[in-house]
Subunit: 169 residues, 2 copies
């Protein structure tokens, strides 16, 4: 044999056309400027920003609520809250009825920071949406809702089940 390198098969997955990668690419590219903004300006981490966004709309949240709302594990949530508290952007109090739960609330300066970051976030979103027609926005919105649901299921079942499913259609 003259060649140890393998030839491409024609039905091969193409990264640049693979839906999850395309979604990731858009998300990652717009996340970068936003991330440099809040990290340079406020010294906030990605987890910190997400948690800030959650407590901005939901007062006295506990850690698991926050984790569920922004897809972070309890460790990351705990550390993120710690960072926000250190920066003076959040306060942590024991829960009213059950004191195992934390009651995390945004502070005034946390709200100010959030508003500044959210302004940039909205500007980014506006630029993206400006590329779409009204009907495309509507379609994208409803499609994304279903994709969110399906991706949660995909995540939940794990790769073994996914391969089994693929084998027995």
């Amino acid at each position: 044999m003259k060649q140890t390198l393998a030839p491409a098969s024609d039905d091969a997955l193409k990264l640049s056309a693979w839906l999850p990668y395309r979604l990731f690419l858009v998300a990652a590219q717009v996340a970068r400027p936003l991330e440099s903004f809040y990290s340079e300006t406020f010294g906030l981490s990605q987890a910190g920003w997400r948690i800030l966004a959650v407590i901005a709309e939901r007062d006295a949240a506990n850690a698991s609520e926050i984790g569920r709302a922004c897809a972070l594990d309890p460790f990351a949530v705990s550390r993120g809250i710690g960072q926000l508290v250190e920066l003076g952007f959040a306060v942590r109090r024991p829960g009213k009825t059950d004191r195992r739960f934390a009651a995390v609330s945004i502070t005034r300066s946390g709200r100010t920071a959030f508003n500044r970051i959210a302004a940039l976030g909205s500007a980014i979103e506006a630029r993206l949406l400006a590329r779409l027609s009204d009907s495309e926005r509507t379609t994208l919105d409803s499609a994304l809702t279903r994709l969110e649901g399906e991706s949660a299921r995909i995540d939940a079942v794990g790769w073994r089940a996914l391969l089994d499913d693929a084998a027995t259609p």
Copy 2:
């Protein structure tokens, strides 16, 4: 004053409705099972998998081509290639004409591994697409193409320009 906590403003950015976050969420959730699969089965990192996918469709690629194709910086590419070589999934040769350039090619066993991972990737994609109608798929495809372009521009201009633009509409 009876309250040190800041009230929510009504036009606030809501994380769960913010387009970039929604895209990220779907991408992250489906990436998780895929990542456990290739890391458990082949000991491959995320960068390793992406590079493998690139060299699976583009033979004798050099490091900067790979980096551009899968959004990795040169360091990550170099290390990812190193990992693939160690696993026997890729070979690194000096470029034909200019020997500063690497010519990275996938090996037979690299191709085998890629095909197995790609099978899972395609199964995941199929499950996502099954939730959409034909016309939704078409719309999503063309919308994503434009979003990719716009997000690249957003990334390129940086946050200062984005805020300036928002201030002067």
